[in-house]
Amino acid sequence: NEKMTVGALRFTSHAASFVAFERGYFAAEGLDVEFKFFQAAQPMAVAIASGDADYAVTAISGGLVSLAEKGATKVIGGALSEEKGIDGQKILASNAAFEAGLTSPAALAGKNFAVTQVGSSFHYMGAKIAEAEGVAVKYKPLQKVGAIIGALKSGQVDAWSIVPHIAKGLAGAGAVQIIGNVADYIPNYQVTTVFTSAANAANERAKTEAFLRAFSKGADDFNAALVDKTAGDDGATEMVKLIHKYVYADRPYEKAEKSIRNGAMRINKNAGLNMESVQDQLGWMKSEGLIKDSITSDVLVDPSYAPVI
Protein backbone atom coordinates (compact mmCIF):
# COMPACT_ATOMS: atom_id res chain seq x y z
CA ASN A 1 0.00 0.00 0.00
CA GLU A 2 1.11 3.51 -0.77
CA LYS A 3 1.59 5.72 2.24
CA MET A 4 0.35 9.27 2.06
CA THR A 5 -0.41 12.14 4.38
CA VAL A 6 -3.57 14.17 4.06
CA GLY A 7 -3.84 17.55 5.71
CA ALA A 8 -7.15 18.50 7.28
CA LEU A 9 -8.89 20.90 9.60
CA ARG A 10 -11.32 19.60 12.12
CA PHE A 11 -14.20 21.12 10.19
CA THR A 12 -17.31 19.49 8.72
CA SER A 13 -16.22 20.83 5.38
CA HIS A 14 -13.34 18.36 5.43
CA ALA A 15 -15.71 15.45 5.94
CA ALA A 16 -15.13 13.91 2.51
CA SER A 17 -11.65 12.77 3.50
CA PHE A 18 -12.83 11.46 6.84
CA VAL A 19 -15.58 9.47 5.15
CA ALA A 20 -13.23 8.09 2.55
CA PHE A 21 -10.91 6.99 5.29
CA GLU A 22 -13.48 5.55 7.66
CA ARG A 23 -15.36 3.72 4.95
CA GLY A 24 -12.17 2.29 3.52
CA TYR A 25 -12.29 4.05 0.16
CA PHE A 26 -8.68 5.06 0.49
CA ALA A 27 -7.65 1.56 1.44
CA ALA A 28 -9.58 0.20 -1.49
CA GLU A 29 -7.50 2.38 -3.76
CA GLY A 30 -4.39 1.01 -2.17
CA LEU A 31 -3.71 4.18 -0.25
CA ASP A 32 -2.48 4.09 3.30
CA VAL A 33 -3.67 7.48 4.49
CA GLU A 34 -2.58 9.25 7.60
CA PHE A 35 -4.23 12.52 8.62
CA LYS A 36 -2.35 15.53 9.75
CA PHE A 37 -4.45 18.13 11.50
CA PHE A 38 -3.91 21.86 11.33
CA GLN A 39 -5.30 24.85 13.16
CA ALA A 40 -5.62 27.04 10.10
CA ALA A 41 -5.67 26.76 6.34
CA GLN A 42 -2.50 28.68 5.62
CA PRO A 43 -0.04 26.30 7.30
CA MET A 44 -1.55 23.48 5.30
CA ALA A 45 -0.47 25.10 2.09
CA VAL A 46 3.03 25.51 3.42
CA ALA A 47 3.04 21.92 4.63
CA ILE A 48 2.17 20.71 1.13
CA ALA A 49 4.99 22.82 -0.24
CA SER A 50 7.44 21.48 2.30
CA GLY A 51 6.37 17.92 1.63
CA ASP A 52 4.93 17.40 5.10
CA ALA A 53 1.55 16.59 3.58
CA ASP A 54 0.60 15.21 0.20
CA TYR A 55 -2.97 16.31 -0.29
CA ALA A 56 -5.19 18.78 1.44
CA VAL A 57 -8.40 20.67 1.07
CA THR A 58 -8.50 24.36 1.75
CA ALA A 59 -9.69 27.73 0.58
CA ILE A 60 -7.83 29.56 -2.15
CA SER A 61 -5.63 31.98 -0.28
CA GLY A 62 -2.92 34.35 -1.35
CA GLY A 63 -0.41 32.01 0.22
CA LEU A 64 -1.60 29.08 -1.83
CA VAL A 65 -1.35 31.10 -5.04
CA SER A 66 2.08 32.35 -4.09
CA LEU A 67 3.30 28.83 -3.49
CA ALA A 68 1.80 27.73 -6.77
CA GLU A 69 3.62 30.53 -8.49
CA LYS A 70 6.86 29.26 -6.96
CA GLY A 71 6.07 25.91 -8.51
CA ALA A 72 5.35 24.21 -5.22
CA THR A 73 1.62 23.50 -5.24
CA LYS A 74 -1.22 22.82 -7.65
CA VAL A 75 -4.97 22.88 -7.28
CA ILE A 76 -6.33 19.65 -8.71
CA GLY A 77 -10.01 19.88 -7.93
CA GLY A 78 -12.84 21.65 -6.19
CA ALA A 79 -14.50 20.83 -2.92
CA LEU A 80 -16.90 23.03 -0.98
CA SER A 81 -19.19 25.28 -3.02
CA GLU A 82 -21.79 27.86 -2.27
CA GLU A 83 -25.04 26.88 -3.88
CA LYS A 84 -28.27 28.79 -3.90
CA GLY A 85 -30.88 26.92 -1.89
CA ILE A 86 -28.42 25.15 0.35
CA ASP A 87 -27.56 26.74 3.59
CA GLY A 88 -24.13 28.25 3.04
CA GLN A 89 -21.78 30.65 4.77
CA LYS A 90 -23.33 33.34 6.91
CA ILE A 91 -22.55 36.99 7.45
CA LEU A 92 -22.37 37.79 11.15
CA ALA A 93 -22.57 40.95 13.20
CA SER A 94 -21.53 41.32 16.80
CA ASN A 95 -24.34 41.96 19.24
CA ALA A 96 -23.08 45.44 19.98
CA ALA A 97 -22.83 46.37 16.32
CA PHE A 98 -26.24 44.83 15.65
CA GLU A 99 -27.79 46.96 18.33
CA ALA A 100 -26.05 49.97 16.86
CA GLY A 101 -27.76 49.32 13.55
CA LEU A 102 -25.70 46.73 11.71
CA THR A 103 -28.72 44.66 10.83
CA SER A 104 -27.91 43.99 7.22
CA PRO A 105 -24.75 43.93 5.13
CA ALA A 106 -25.82 47.24 3.64
CA ALA A 107 -24.92 48.92 6.91
CA LEU A 108 -21.34 47.69 6.86
CA ALA A 109 -19.89 51.04 5.87
CA GLY A 110 -16.93 51.95 8.08
CA LYS A 111 -17.30 48.80 10.18
CA ASN A 112 -14.53 46.45 11.27
CA PHE A 113 -14.70 43.25 9.28
CA ALA A 114 -12.69 40.41 10.78
CA VAL A 115 -10.37 38.33 8.63
CA THR A 116 -7.76 35.77 9.63
CA GLN A 117 -5.12 37.15 7.35
CA VAL A 118 -4.89 39.53 4.52
CA GLY A 119 -5.61 37.62 1.30
CA SER A 120 -7.60 34.93 3.07
CA SER A 121 -11.02 33.74 1.92
CA PHE A 122 -12.60 35.89 4.64
CA HIS A 123 -10.96 38.91 3.14
CA TYR A 124 -12.30 37.92 -0.28
CA MET A 125 -15.82 37.47 1.03
CA GLY A 126 -15.73 40.74 2.90
CA ALA A 127 -14.44 42.54 -0.17
CA LYS A 128 -17.10 41.00 -2.41
CA ILE A 129 -19.89 41.87 -0.01
CA ALA A 130 -18.63 45.41 0.44
CA GLU A 131 -18.30 45.80 -3.31
CA ALA A 132 -21.82 44.58 -3.90
CA GLU A 133 -23.19 46.90 -1.25
CA GLY A 134 -21.00 49.75 -2.42
CA VAL A 135 -19.54 50.40 1.00
CA ALA A 136 -16.02 50.59 2.42
CA VAL A 137 -15.15 48.42 5.37
CA LYS A 138 -12.02 48.08 7.51
CA TYR A 139 -10.38 44.68 7.69
CA LYS A 140 -8.96 43.47 10.96
CA PRO A 141 -6.49 40.60 10.60
CA LEU A 142 -6.74 38.41 13.70
CA GLN A 143 -4.76 35.35 12.49
CA LYS A 144 -7.10 32.69 13.77
CA VAL A 145 -10.75 31.72 13.66
CA GLY A 146 -10.76 31.37 17.43
CA ALA A 147 -9.40 34.85 17.90
CA ILE A 148 -12.06 36.26 15.60
CA ILE A 149 -14.84 34.54 17.52
CA GLY A 150 -13.52 36.01 20.75
CA ALA A 151 -13.21 39.46 19.23
CA LEU A 152 -16.70 39.25 17.77
CA LYS A 153 -18.21 38.12 21.06
CA SER A 154 -16.58 40.94 22.98
CA GLY A 155 -17.50 43.48 20.33
CA GLN A 156 -13.92 44.28 19.32
CA VAL A 157 -14.84 43.69 15.69
CA ASP A 158 -18.21 44.27 14.07
CA ALA A 159 -18.70 41.72 11.31
CA TRP A 160 -17.46 38.45 9.88
CA SER A 161 -18.46 35.67 7.52
CA ILE A 162 -18.10 31.99 8.30
CA VAL A 163 -19.28 28.49 7.50
CA PRO A 164 -22.80 27.76 8.70
CA HIS A 165 -22.10 25.34 11.53
CA ILE A 166 -20.00 27.89 13.39
CA ALA A 167 -22.33 30.75 12.52
CA LYS A 168 -25.42 28.97 13.68
CA GLY A 169 -23.75 27.71 16.80
CA LEU A 170 -22.74 31.21 17.80
CA ALA A 171 -26.05 32.79 16.86
CA GLY A 172 -27.91 30.04 18.66
CA ALA A 173 -26.01 30.87 21.84
CA GLY A 174 -26.98 34.51 21.39
CA ALA A 175 -23.38 35.59 21.07
CA VAL A 176 -23.72 37.07 17.56
CA GLN A 177 -26.37 37.92 15.01
CA ILE A 178 -26.71 36.51 11.50
CA ILE A 179 -27.32 39.35 9.05
CA GLY A 180 -26.99 37.70 5.67
CA ASN A 181 -25.84 34.86 3.41
CA VAL A 182 -22.61 34.85 1.47
CA ALA A 183 -24.30 32.96 -1.36
CA ASP A 184 -26.41 36.03 -2.07
CA TYR A 185 -23.31 38.01 -2.87
CA ILE A 186 -21.01 35.40 -4.41
CA PRO A 187 -23.14 32.80 -6.17
CA ASN A 188 -21.36 29.55 -6.99
CA TYR A 189 -18.43 30.58 -4.88
CA GLN A 190 -15.80 27.84 -4.99
CA VAL A 191 -14.96 27.97 -1.31
CA THR A 192 -12.40 25.22 -1.01
CA THR A 193 -10.26 23.26 -3.42
CA VAL A 194 -8.29 20.07 -3.36
CA PHE A 195 -4.62 20.64 -3.86
CA THR A 196 -1.31 18.88 -3.78
CA SER A 197 2.33 19.52 -4.44
CA ALA A 198 3.34 20.31 -7.99
CA ALA A 199 5.54 17.22 -7.94
CA ASN A 200 2.61 14.98 -7.06
CA ALA A 201 0.44 16.58 -9.71
CA ALA A 202 3.06 16.15 -12.40
CA ASN A 203 4.70 12.85 -11.54
CA GLU A 204 2.28 10.86 -9.42
CA ARG A 205 -0.70 10.78 -11.67
CA ALA A 206 -1.86 7.32 -10.63
CA LYS A 207 -1.66 8.07 -6.95
CA THR A 208 -3.31 11.45 -7.34
CA GLU A 209 -6.14 10.06 -9.36
CA ALA A 210 -6.61 7.31 -6.83
CA PHE A 211 -6.83 9.86 -4.09
CA LEU A 212 -9.36 11.95 -5.98
CA ARG A 213 -11.52 8.90 -6.69
CA ALA A 214 -11.64 7.92 -3.04
CA PHE A 215 -12.18 11.50 -2.00
CA SER A 216 -15.08 11.89 -4.43
CA LYS A 217 -16.69 8.75 -3.12
CA GLY A 218 -16.48 10.16 0.35
CA ALA A 219 -17.95 13.41 -0.89
CA ASP A 220 -20.80 11.59 -2.58
CA ASP A 221 -21.63 9.76 0.63
CA PHE A 222 -21.50 12.99 2.55
CA ASN A 223 -23.68 14.91 0.10
CA ALA A 224 -26.19 12.10 0.05
CA ALA A 225 -26.38 11.82 3.79
CA LEU A 226 -26.38 15.44 4.92
CA VAL A 227 -26.81 17.81 1.94
CA ASP A 228 -29.31 16.12 -0.32
CA LYS A 229 -30.59 13.94 2.53
CA THR A 230 -31.26 11.01 0.23
CA ALA A 231 -29.73 8.43 2.54
CA GLY A 232 -32.51 8.56 5.06
CA ASP A 233 -32.34 9.40 8.75
CA ASP A 234 -30.24 6.40 9.62
CA GLY A 235 -27.74 7.23 6.96
CA ALA A 236 -27.57 10.80 8.21
CA THR A 237 -27.13 9.74 11.81
CA GLU A 238 -24.46 7.27 10.86
CA MET A 239 -22.68 9.98 8.88
CA VAL A 240 -22.84 12.41 11.79
CA LYS A 241 -21.43 9.78 14.10
CA LEU A 242 -18.59 9.16 11.67
CA ILE A 243 -17.77 12.82 11.39
CA HIS A 244 -18.01 13.29 15.13
CA LYS A 245 -14.88 11.18 15.50
CA TYR A 246 -12.98 14.07 13.91
CA VAL A 247 -15.06 17.17 14.42
CA TYR A 248 -16.11 18.43 17.82
CA ALA A 249 -14.66 15.24 19.23
CA ASP A 250 -14.31 16.91 22.59
CA ARG A 251 -18.02 17.67 22.79
CA PRO A 252 -20.70 15.16 23.64
CA TYR A 253 -22.47 13.72 20.62
CA GLU A 254 -25.76 15.40 21.37
CA LYS A 255 -24.21 18.84 21.24
CA ALA A 256 -21.99 18.09 18.30
CA GLU A 257 -24.71 16.60 16.19
CA LYS A 258 -26.51 19.85 15.58
CA SER A 259 -23.35 21.66 14.64
CA ILE A 260 -22.31 18.94 12.26
CA ARG A 261 -25.69 18.86 10.56
CA ASN A 262 -25.70 22.64 10.35
CA GLY A 263 -22.35 22.63 8.70
CA ALA A 264 -23.26 20.50 5.75
CA MET A 265 -22.52 22.29 2.48
CA ARG A 266 -22.14 20.66 -0.87
CA ILE A 267 -18.83 19.12 -1.78
CA ASN A 268 -18.50 19.11 -5.54
CA LYS A 269 -19.15 15.86 -7.34
CA ASN A 270 -15.99 14.27 -8.72
CA ALA A 271 -14.06 17.18 -7.24
CA GLY A 272 -15.32 19.41 -10.03
CA LEU A 273 -13.78 22.85 -10.03
CA ASN A 274 -15.65 26.09 -10.71
CA MET A 275 -13.08 27.84 -12.85
CA GLU A 276 -15.12 30.99 -13.11
CA SER A 277 -15.04 31.44 -9.36
CA VAL A 278 -11.34 30.64 -9.27
CA GLN A 279 -10.71 33.28 -11.93
CA ASP A 280 -12.71 35.79 -9.97
CA GLN A 281 -10.76 35.11 -6.82
CA LEU A 282 -7.46 35.43 -8.63
CA GLY A 283 -8.63 38.66 -10.22
CA TRP A 284 -9.54 40.07 -6.86
CA MET A 285 -6.16 39.17 -5.35
CA LYS A 286 -4.41 40.87 -8.23
CA SER A 287 -6.51 43.97 -7.86
CA GLU A 288 -5.55 44.07 -4.17
CA GLY A 289 -1.88 43.73 -5.03
CA LEU A 290 -1.66 40.51 -3.07
CA ILE A 291 -0.24 38.44 -5.91
CA LYS A 292 1.71 39.18 -9.01
CA ASP A 293 -0.26 40.35 -12.03
CA SER A 294 1.43 37.75 -14.19
CA ILE A 295 -0.26 34.87 -12.43
CA THR A 296 -2.95 33.09 -14.44
CA SER A 297 -5.15 30.23 -13.51
CA ASP A 298 -2.83 27.76 -15.30
CA VAL A 299 -0.20 28.53 -12.71
CA LEU A 300 -2.58 27.63 -9.94
CA VAL A 301 -4.67 24.86 -11.43
CA ASP A 302 -3.82 21.57 -13.04
CA PRO A 303 -7.11 21.02 -14.89
CA SER A 304 -6.23 17.53 -16.05
CA TYR A 305 -7.64 15.79 -12.99
CA ALA A 306 -11.13 17.04 -12.37
CA PRO A 307 -14.02 18.24 -14.49
CA VAL A 308 -14.33 21.97 -14.82
CA ILE A 309 -17.76 23.28 -14.02
Partner: protein, 262 residues
Amino acid sequence: MSEKLVRFRGGGFRPEAKRGAGLVVFVVLLLVIEWGTRAGWISNLTLPRPSDVGATLAGLAQSGMLWTHLVPSLTRLVVGAALGISVGIGVGVMIGLFSYVRAGLVPLVAAMFPIPKIALLPLFVIWFGIDEGSKYALIALGTFTPTVVSTYGAVDNVDRGLIRMGQSFNLRWWSIVRKIVLPGALPGILSGLRVSLAIGIILLVAAEMLGAEYGIGAYILQAGSLYDLERLFAGVVVLSALGVLISWIVGQMEKRLLVWRG
Protein backbone atom coordinates in the same frame (compact mmCIF):
# COMPACT_ATOMS: atom_id res chain seq x y z
CA MET B 1 32.00 71.29 78.60
CA SER B 2 29.40 70.09 76.10
CA GLU B 3 29.33 66.38 75.40
CA LYS B 4 27.44 64.82 72.56
CA LEU B 5 27.28 61.33 71.13
CA VAL B 6 28.40 61.04 67.55
CA ARG B 7 25.27 60.74 65.43
CA PHE B 8 24.83 57.62 63.33
CA ARG B 9 24.47 58.54 59.68
CA GLY B 10 25.43 55.39 57.78
CA GLY B 11 23.44 52.39 56.73
CA GLY B 12 20.67 52.14 54.18
CA PHE B 13 20.98 51.82 50.40
CA ARG B 14 21.26 48.07 50.70
CA PRO B 15 17.78 46.73 50.15
CA GLU B 16 17.63 43.03 50.72
CA ALA B 17 14.98 40.79 49.28
CA LYS B 18 13.44 39.30 52.39
CA ARG B 19 12.75 35.64 51.94
CA GLY B 20 9.07 34.89 51.86
CA ALA B 21 8.00 38.47 51.36
CA GLY B 22 7.60 37.78 47.68
CA LEU B 23 5.31 34.89 48.52
CA VAL B 24 3.20 37.13 50.73
CA VAL B 25 2.83 39.64 47.90
CA PHE B 26 1.80 36.85 45.54
CA VAL B 27 -0.75 35.47 47.95
CA VAL B 28 -2.20 38.89 48.73
CA LEU B 29 -2.43 39.70 45.03
CA LEU B 30 -4.22 36.45 44.35
CA LEU B 31 -6.60 36.99 47.25
CA VAL B 32 -7.46 40.49 46.07
CA ILE B 33 -8.17 39.24 42.57
CA GLU B 34 -10.20 36.37 43.94
CA TRP B 35 -12.20 38.80 46.03
CA GLY B 36 -12.60 41.19 43.15
CA THR B 37 -13.79 38.56 40.72
CA ARG B 38 -16.18 37.12 43.29
CA ALA B 39 -17.53 40.48 44.37
CA GLY B 40 -17.84 41.47 40.76
CA TRP B 41 -15.73 44.62 40.66
CA ILE B 42 -13.35 42.76 38.42
CA SER B 43 -15.32 41.51 35.45
CA ASN B 44 -14.72 37.92 34.49
CA LEU B 45 -13.75 39.17 31.06
CA THR B 46 -10.86 41.06 32.60
CA LEU B 47 -9.28 38.44 34.77
CA PRO B 48 -10.11 34.87 35.60
CA ARG B 49 -10.79 33.84 39.17
CA PRO B 50 -7.51 32.54 40.62
CA SER B 51 -9.32 29.61 42.19
CA ASP B 52 -10.71 28.69 38.79
CA VAL B 53 -7.23 28.86 37.31
CA GLY B 54 -6.07 26.62 40.11
CA ALA B 55 -8.91 24.23 39.44
CA THR B 56 -8.07 24.22 35.74
CA LEU B 57 -4.46 23.44 36.58
CA ALA B 58 -5.47 20.69 38.95
CA GLY B 59 -7.80 19.28 36.32
CA LEU B 60 -5.01 19.39 33.77
CA ALA B 61 -2.70 17.56 36.11
CA GLN B 62 -5.28 14.95 37.08
CA SER B 63 -6.44 14.18 33.59
CA GLY B 64 -2.85 13.76 32.55
CA MET B 65 -3.29 16.42 29.89
CA LEU B 66 -0.63 18.48 31.64
CA TRP B 67 1.93 15.86 30.66
CA THR B 68 0.51 15.50 27.20
CA HIS B 69 1.20 19.19 26.72
CA LEU B 70 4.33 19.48 28.80
CA VAL B 71 6.32 16.60 27.35
CA PRO B 72 6.38 17.81 23.72
CA SER B 73 7.09 21.37 24.87
CA LEU B 74 9.93 20.28 27.10
CA THR B 75 11.34 18.12 24.34
CA ARG B 76 11.26 21.04 21.95
CA LEU B 77 12.82 23.33 24.51
CA VAL B 78 15.55 20.88 25.44
CA VAL B 79 16.47 19.87 21.91
CA GLY B 80 16.19 23.38 20.46
CA ALA B 81 17.99 25.09 23.31
CA ALA B 82 20.71 22.44 23.46
CA LEU B 83 21.32 22.98 19.77
CA GLY B 84 21.20 26.76 19.87
CA ILE B 85 23.23 27.07 23.03
CA SER B 86 25.96 24.63 22.10
CA VAL B 87 26.44 26.13 18.66
CA GLY B 88 26.13 29.59 20.19
CA ILE B 89 28.85 28.91 22.72
CA GLY B 90 31.07 27.48 20.02
CA VAL B 91 30.59 30.45 17.73
CA GLY B 92 30.88 32.89 20.64
CA VAL B 93 34.20 31.42 21.70
CA MET B 94 35.46 31.58 18.12
CA ILE B 95 34.40 35.23 17.90
CA GLY B 96 36.19 35.83 21.17
CA LEU B 97 39.38 34.24 19.87
CA PHE B 98 39.74 34.99 16.18
CA SER B 99 39.77 38.40 14.54
CA TYR B 100 38.42 37.19 11.24
CA VAL B 101 35.55 35.27 12.73
CA ARG B 102 34.73 38.32 14.82
CA ALA B 103 34.91 40.68 11.90
CA GLY B 104 32.66 38.48 9.83
CA LEU B 105 30.12 37.31 12.32
CA VAL B 106 29.55 40.08 14.83
CA PRO B 107 27.67 42.37 12.41
CA LEU B 108 25.68 39.38 11.19
CA VAL B 109 24.64 38.45 14.70
CA ALA B 110 23.85 42.09 15.50
CA ALA B 111 21.63 42.26 12.44
CA MET B 112 19.93 38.99 13.39
CA PHE B 113 19.19 40.07 16.93
CA PRO B 114 16.18 42.30 16.27
CA ILE B 115 14.60 39.91 13.76
CA PRO B 116 11.40 38.59 15.25
CA LYS B 117 11.59 34.83 15.08
CA ILE B 118 7.83 34.48 14.51
CA ALA B 119 8.27 36.21 11.19
CA LEU B 120 10.53 33.45 10.00
CA LEU B 121 8.13 30.68 10.95
CA PRO B 122 6.72 30.07 7.44
CA LEU B 123 10.25 29.89 6.10
CA PHE B 124 11.27 27.44 8.78
CA VAL B 125 8.39 25.19 7.89
CA ILE B 126 9.68 24.93 4.36
CA TRP B 127 13.25 24.43 5.50
CA PHE B 128 12.72 22.03 8.34
CA GLY B 129 9.25 20.61 7.85
CA ILE B 130 6.11 21.35 9.75
CA ASP B 131 6.83 18.83 12.45
CA GLU B 132 9.38 19.05 15.17
CA GLY B 133 12.17 20.23 12.87
CA SER B 134 10.89 23.74 12.46
CA LYS B 135 10.17 24.02 16.17
CA TYR B 136 13.64 22.92 17.14
CA ALA B 137 15.09 25.31 14.59
CA LEU B 138 13.09 28.26 15.83
CA ILE B 139 14.06 27.71 19.45
CA ALA B 140 17.63 26.99 18.42
CA LEU B 141 17.84 30.24 16.47
CA GLY B 142 16.20 32.18 19.29
CA THR B 143 18.65 30.89 21.88
CA PHE B 144 21.61 31.05 19.52
CA THR B 145 21.90 34.83 19.12
CA PRO B 146 21.84 35.80 22.81
CA THR B 147 24.20 32.94 23.64
CA VAL B 148 26.69 34.11 21.05
CA VAL B 149 26.57 37.66 22.35
CA SER B 150 26.96 36.69 25.99
CA THR B 151 29.67 34.16 25.21
CA TYR B 152 31.92 36.45 23.29
CA GLY B 153 31.32 39.13 25.89
CA ALA B 154 32.42 36.62 28.51
CA VAL B 155 35.52 35.67 26.55
CA ASP B 156 36.35 39.34 26.05
CA ASN B 157 36.03 39.86 29.77
CA VAL B 158 38.50 37.16 30.71
CA ASP B 159 41.34 38.89 32.52
CA ARG B 160 44.01 39.48 29.85
CA GLY B 161 46.53 39.46 32.69
CA LEU B 162 45.85 35.77 33.20
CA ILE B 163 46.32 35.10 29.52
CA ARG B 164 49.62 37.01 29.48
CA MET B 165 50.63 34.97 32.48
CA GLY B 166 49.91 31.79 30.55
CA GLN B 167 51.98 33.03 27.64
CA SER B 168 54.81 34.06 29.92
CA PHE B 169 55.00 30.45 31.11
CA ASN B 170 55.08 29.20 27.54
CA LEU B 171 51.73 27.44 27.83
CA ARG B 172 50.51 26.10 24.52
CA TRP B 173 47.76 28.07 22.73
CA TRP B 174 45.31 25.29 23.28
CA SER B 175 46.24 25.02 26.95
CA ILE B 176 45.59 28.72 27.38
CA VAL B 177 42.20 28.40 25.76
CA ARG B 178 41.24 25.32 27.72
CA LYS B 179 42.67 26.16 31.10
CA ILE B 180 42.38 29.95 31.21
CA VAL B 181 39.95 31.35 28.64
CA LEU B 182 37.15 28.83 28.97
CA PRO B 183 36.99 28.61 32.77
CA GLY B 184 37.34 32.38 32.94
CA ALA B 185 34.45 32.84 30.57
CA LEU B 186 32.26 30.30 32.35
CA PRO B 187 30.53 32.72 34.76
CA GLY B 188 29.54 35.00 31.91
CA ILE B 189 28.42 32.09 29.78
CA LEU B 190 26.27 30.71 32.57
CA SER B 191 24.60 34.01 33.25
CA GLY B 192 23.96 34.33 29.54
CA LEU B 193 22.38 30.88 29.69
CA ARG B 194 19.72 32.25 32.01
CA VAL B 195 18.62 34.79 29.43
CA SER B 196 18.87 32.37 26.52
CA LEU B 197 16.72 29.81 28.27
CA ALA B 198 14.13 32.41 29.23
CA ILE B 199 13.96 33.38 25.57
CA GLY B 200 13.66 29.70 24.69
CA ILE B 201 10.60 29.42 26.91
CA ILE B 202 9.08 32.53 25.41
CA LEU B 203 9.65 31.13 21.94
CA LEU B 204 7.82 27.91 22.78
CA VAL B 205 4.59 29.74 22.09
CA ALA B 206 5.81 31.07 18.77
CA ALA B 207 7.18 27.66 17.81
CA GLU B 208 3.88 26.01 18.54
CA MET B 209 1.91 28.45 16.45
CA LEU B 210 2.30 26.31 13.38
CA GLY B 211 1.12 22.76 13.33
CA ALA B 212 1.42 21.78 16.95
CA GLU B 213 -1.53 19.97 18.42
CA TYR B 214 0.04 19.47 21.81
CA GLY B 215 2.37 21.63 23.80
CA ILE B 216 2.01 24.31 26.44
CA GLY B 217 2.37 26.98 23.80
CA ALA B 218 -0.30 25.41 21.63
CA TYR B 219 -2.52 25.10 24.68
CA ILE B 220 -2.07 28.78 25.49
CA LEU B 221 -2.66 29.85 21.91
CA GLN B 222 -5.80 27.81 21.73
CA ALA B 223 -7.05 29.17 25.03
CA GLY B 224 -6.19 32.66 23.87
CA SER B 225 -8.03 32.38 20.62
CA LEU B 226 -11.06 31.09 22.47
CA TYR B 227 -10.71 33.84 25.09
CA ASP B 228 -10.71 31.12 27.68
CA LEU B 229 -8.95 33.08 30.38
CA GLU B 230 -8.77 30.26 32.93
CA ARG B 231 -6.88 28.02 30.57
CA LEU B 232 -4.82 30.91 29.25
CA PHE B 233 -3.64 31.76 32.73
CA ALA B 234 -3.16 28.12 33.65
CA GLY B 235 -0.83 27.78 30.68
CA VAL B 236 0.96 30.99 31.54
CA VAL B 237 1.44 29.80 35.11
CA VAL B 238 3.01 26.61 33.82
CA LEU B 239 5.43 28.56 31.62
CA SER B 240 6.24 30.95 34.41
CA ALA B 241 6.92 28.06 36.76
CA LEU B 242 9.09 26.49 34.09
CA GLY B 243 11.02 29.74 33.84
CA VAL B 244 11.56 29.93 37.57
CA LEU B 245 12.59 26.28 37.63
CA ILE B 246 15.12 26.72 34.86
CA SER B 247 16.53 29.81 36.50
CA TRP B 248 16.91 27.77 39.67
CA ILE B 249 18.68 24.99 37.80
CA VAL B 250 21.11 27.47 36.29
CA GLY B 251 21.63 28.86 39.79
CA GLN B 252 22.50 25.37 41.01
CA MET B 253 24.90 24.91 38.12
CA GLU B 254 26.56 28.17 39.01
CA LYS B 255 26.88 27.04 42.60
CA ARG B 256 28.49 23.78 41.53
CA LEU B 257 30.73 25.03 38.79
CA LEU B 258 31.75 28.33 40.29
CA VAL B 259 32.61 27.32 43.85
CA TRP B 260 35.83 29.18 43.37
CA ARG B 261 33.96 32.47 43.34
CA GLY B 262 32.87 31.85 46.93
